[in-house]
């Protein structure tokens, strides 16, 4: 046995493009083999030679032949026996066999065709006939090879495509233009809760009711993405979710198909809502802050005006009267000079009093505190505060015969001096503006909701409801005599500093007043 692989001509570029196919030549006569080889050499295929059936069988195990030329009459194992064995092997079951024989016997022909022969060639061999017959089989084999490699290529492409589809983070379906699903990846099963087989053939609109595809400009071809849209997806259990979808059409086998990628946008929608909420919250805070600043600016403006106006009065009086006293001649009665002096002293004293009240007001009001720092709150026992206030006012209480009672009061977090100011001013007012009856005051506290509310009830002259806001302004007095007009302004500043407010709950002239103030829920 020898190989005739040298028959291959690699320099022949026209044929080099084709991979040579293998042809097996079997004859017990070496001279016949040489002759066959010579005839087939111009085909430039790979020729393999065998001098016995056994050799031929062995080669058939190792190679795939485009055709086998088999001499019928050989010693030991003749051509038919060899063919039978070749046929019995799966690998060579379909290999075309051409029998070479010197005898034209019908019996031989029948047997040969029975064994799967495709043709008979009669010796002496006519080269052109042999060449043309073998060429046909070579062509067939080559076509088969091509088909096979194309099929393999297709399989590989399909595998790659499947891998990409399955690895995609989104659910992806390929549908017809009208939405019938032809292909879906595993993310689609997971996202919608349907088994894969239930998805194929279903319309995508049963998953995304508003899915649609309108071929806008089909001539643009594949790769043209439609704008991303957010629609509603419906899972198998009927639950819905926001679905972010992208559609890209492509042309395939004369029709348009659409790839739709579907993403569950629940997280994204939540994030968007969160951002919206944060923005709204931010806007609200800016508005509140602006309102607070506006309020505080307006308060400051009023304060500055009132302060300049009300402080101006005693100064002006002191100045005018001291000049009058200085220029008054001997004709001025001594009694008048005494009165001028008294007025000067009174107004100088009043200026002192006003400035003290102002200092307290500034200390109590929020302008005294650093805006940015969180106020430091300490435990304040309101019972102890009241005891201190009563001690501070001992003289006034004794002189007026006032009775002051209080219920057990809470211990809160706050700023002690503010509670002292609140109670001291409210109690002082209750005593100072008393009716004919001896003053009686009752202090209590309750917590109807989230914050403490303190009550100070007096039995004094009362306040006309039309003044219920007026009295809390700076330098506001209802009576000519008495205080600085700052007491309730200080109370309001203190209550606001404690995160609450102060108001007159009930008051009628002659019936006493019920003042209430709240504090922040933070002062727990």
């Amino acid at each position: 046995m020898r190989s005739a692989a040298t028959a291959h001509h690699p320099d022949d570029s026209a044929l080099a493009r084709h991979r040579p196919v293998k042809l097996l030549l079997v004859d017990d006569d070496a001279a016949n083999l040489l002759a066959l080889e010579a005839i087939l050499e111009p085909l430039h295929e790979e020729l393999m030679l065998a001098q016995s059936g056994a050799d031929a069988l062995r080669l058939c195990l190792e190679h795939k032949f485009a055709a086998i030329l088999l001499d019928v009459r050989m010693p030991d194992m003749d051509g038919f026996e060899t063919a039978e064995l070749i046929r019995s092997r799966k690998k060579s079951q379909l290999t075309p066999i051409l029998f070479l024989t010197a005898y034209r016997s019908d019996e031989q022909l029948f047997r040969g065709y029975d064994l799967g022969a495709v043709d008979f060639l009669f010796k002496p061999i006519v080269p052109e006939v042999l060449q043309s017959k073998v060429s046909v089989f070579v062509g067939l084999s080559r076509a088969e090879q091509l088909l096979q490699s194309q099929a393999e290529e297709l399989t590989r492409a399909e595998q790659r495509f499947r891998a990409v589809l399955e690895a995609a983070p989104d659910a992806m379906v390929i549908t017809t233009e009208s939405g019938v699903i032809e292909l879906a990846n595993s993310r689609t099963d997971v996202l919608f809760g349907y088994p894969r087989e239930a998805l194929i053939g279903r319309n995508v609109q049963s998953l995304i009711p508003k899915w649609e595809y309108v071929a806008a400009e089909p001539e643009n071809g594949a790769g043209q993405h439609l704008a991303e849209v957010r629609l509603t997806g419906i899972r198998r259990d009927g639950s819905v979710f926001p679905a972010q979808i992208t559609r890209s059409p492509f042309h395939c086998s004369g029709k348009w198909l659409v790839t739709t990628a579907i993403r569950d946008a629940t997280d994204q929608v939540e994030a968007e809502h969160r951002i919206q909420r944060i923005n709204a919250e931010l806007e609200k805070r800016v508005e509140e802050r602006t309102a607070a600043l506006t309020y505080s600016n307006e308060a400051l403006r009023q304060f500055a005006w009132a302060a300049s106006h009300d402080l101006q009065e005693p100064i002006r009086t002191v100045l005018s009267y001291s000049q009058w006293l200085a220029t008054s001649g001997p004709e001025t009665p001594a009694e008048n000079r005494q009165r001028m002096l008294a007025i000067i002293q009174h107004h100088a004293g009043r200026l002192h009093q006003l400035l003290n009240a102002l200092r307290q007001y500034v200390q109590v009001s929020e302008w005294g505190a650093a805006e940015s720092t969180q106020e430091k709150l300490v435990m304040v026992d309101c019972n102890a505060v009241l005891q201190q206030v009563v001690a501070n006012l001992a003289g006034l209480i004794e002189e007026s015969g006032a009775v002051i009672e209080w219920d057990p009061l809470p211990v809160v977090f706050g700023i002690e001096v503010l509670f002292v100011q609140l109670f001291q001013n409210l109690i002082t007012n209750g005593i100072k503006y008393r009716s004919a009856k001896p003053p009686a005051l009752r202090i209590s506290a309750e917590k109807p909701a989230d914050r403490w509310i303190f009550s100070v009830q007096d039995n004094g002259i009362g306040i006309d409801p039309k003044y219920s806001d007026y009295v809390f302004g700076v330098f506001r007095r209802l009576q000519r005599t008495g205080g600085t007009g700052m007491g309730l302004a200080i109370c309001r500043a203190a209550a606001e500093r404690l995160g609450g407010r102060i108001w007159i709950e009930e008051s009628k002239p002659g019936m006493g007043s019920l003042f209430r103030f709240s504090i922040s829920p933070r002062c727990e």
Partner: protein, 154 residues
């Protein structure tokens, strides 16, 4: 009481200012009688009463701007509702007013705003001078026609 006595309605809570105003009138030889109210409520009550009782209608109204329980503007508003006071010249007397407050009281019927200056001579000149002008206008007006009452406002 002489017929030349000028009746003055004075809403003023500061007794020291009452005396200074009296002194400024005395120094101009004006014979006067003052009815002094020391809170806004008292002042308003009196204003509403004129005409319905025997209390004589004043010849001049001087109103301090800052009063316990309110301000001069409140009294002006009440006075505007009493027709018996329509021809009485009214002035707001104050140590300081902001421009918008001046506009407001003028619109409410004040003939002028008298500023209480610091210093005795200044006070005498300002208050005495303005009161004299107001009274002169009143005399002129009663001699002519009531309809010219607004000559001082413009």
């Amino acid at each position: 009481m002489s017929t030349n006595t000028i009746r003055i309605y004075l809403a003023e809570d500061n007794a020291a200012d009452v005396w200074l105003i009296e002194e400024s009138l005395r120094r101009r030889s004006i014979v006067f009688e003052i009815e002094n109210f020391t809170t806004a409520a008292e002042g308003i009550e009196a204003v509403l009463r004129y005409g319905s009782t025997d209390a004589p209608v004043p010849d001049l109204m001087l109103l301090d701007y800052n009063l316990p329980g309110g301000h001069g503007g409140d009294i002006l508003a009440s006075a505007a509702r009493n027709p018996h006071l329509s021809s009485v010249p009214k002035a707001v007397v104050t140590s300081f007013l902001q421009p918008e407050e001046i506009t407001a009281v003028m619109q409410m019927g004040a003939a002028c705003v008298i500023t209480k200056p610091a210093g005795l001579d200044e006070f005498m000149a300002e208050v005495g001078g303005k009161v004299e002008t107001l009274l002169a206008g009143r005399v002129g007006r009663t001699a002519a026609a009531d309809s010219q009452s607004s000559s001082l406002k413009t």
